[in-house]
Symmetry: C2
Subunit: 248 residues, 2 copies
């Protein structure tokens, strides 16, 4: 019987060209397609809710597969994990209605951007955080972030190459936390994100923390709708897709 299954997938994106299958490297999607083909003995279409870029990680990528199977749902994660490489894992699976669409049905997403902020870098963290040795002023970053919350045209925070129909998005919240081991985590919760949007937000907030962009300029940067006015695109290793919700 054809069924739709939602998988919650985590991965270390270091060795991948990103979520989506491309010609120039290994994708996470391809690895999951191959594991599904091997275990379900059929071609399975795999759709992810977020096209994470090369080097970006996920704690909670939501993946929909349609497959003709009667396997007990609890067995599916371990079954697929035995065919997946160590840096990809299915954490959880559940049956969902056949018309479930992981992109359209999303209510909100949370991305985490992690910064290692210390003068002596930490080798084991370098794949999972962006490294900045200059001390960042978190208070200024928090004040700047407030100007980003709300519904805005985020064209200034979008890579020009992949423009979409509308560049209006809603950011529900930005939390900046000073964690142990010199990690600063920026959590961005929104209804959807433009290409590189979280990394440009992080790059801009880092410039505010370094005092090279004034916190009061954020509104002007948004209003300008000019990519060049925002900060740089922060590197991919700092970014993790943290959570995706399908409930209001």
């Amino acid at each position: 019987m054809l069924r739709s299954i939602m998988l919650v997938v985590a991965y270390d994106g270091t060795n991948y060209c990103g979520w989506q299958s491309q010609t120039n490297g290994l994708s996470v999607q391809e690895k999951i397609e191959n594991a599904c083909k091997e275990k379900f003995k059929q071609k399975v279409i795999v759709r992810g809710c977020s096209r994470t870029d090369a080097g970006v990680h996920a704690e909670h990528q939501v993946v929909a597969i349609q497959v003709d199977t009667d396997i007990t749902i609890e067995k599916i994660p371990l079954m697929l994990n035995s065919s997946l490489p160590n840096d990809i894992v299915v954490k959880y699976a559940k049956y969902v209605p056949l018309n479930f669409n992981p992109i359209r049905d999303t209510k909100y997403k949370i991305y985490r951007y992690s910064i290692l902020n210390t003068d002596i870098r930490v080798p084991k963290m370098m794949r999972y955080a962006a490294y900045y040795y200059k001390t960042l002023d978190i208070k200024l970053m928090r004040q700047a972030a407030k100007f980003m919350i709300g519904t805005h045209d985020f064209k200034a925070f979008c890579s020009s190459e992949k423009a979409t129909k509308t560049t209006v998005r809603t950011i529900y919240d930005i939390q900046i936390k000073n964690e142990k081991n010199n990690i600063i985590n920026i959590y961005v919760k929104g209804n959807g994100f433009l290409h590189h949007m979280v990394r440009i937000i992080a790059g801009t907030l880092i410039k505010v923390g370094e005092k090279t962009i004034d916190k009061n300029k954020i509104k002007n940067i948004i209003d300008s709708m000019e990519r060049k006015n925002a900060g740089p695109t922060a590197p991919p290793e700092g970014l993790t897709l943290e959570y995706v919700s399908y409930d209001e």
Copy 2:
């Protein structure tokens, strides 16, 4: 003026053939030699206190260099770090007597062996812990570890290929800690370690935790002096050189 400098170095061993320069791959030692050559403009002999194997990590490798320099000691870590790759870092430097020998002068070393013990693996931990999905009985592992503490001939816990003059070593302590995120850390403190000794200790304790080696057999295994009676050599990614002391 020729001076001896002690460097405390941390590294992620994933991409290296180990500490020591070899013909078959990049070594950490070589990277530090190259950084020293670049910054001090002279050939510098670099000696480490522990020859960690391929894939093994260090939080605190002690390295001695002899170099003709008058640079302020506080500037040396940042100077060398700017020539080192991201996965190697000099945490600290100090001048030591010219006759300082990082191997001979060691008082004790602490290694940590990390195990990720959960049915769903964690991608970001796979480079830094050995993964075991079967639940390990930590109480049994602690009881077994007690039989290892003390001065023994550890021939049964040494890779046969690299036999040394004496295989007698003293283990001062073994602590097994149940940490958060399903990590079990085994800390082994001793006056010196044979080739693969900590990984064979870990592999043996894992077998005890899985209940495939009886905790009361440890004394017999040691007394047998036969490598085949101990457990397997646990994989390198779980091992970290945690600390080396030069004080009593």
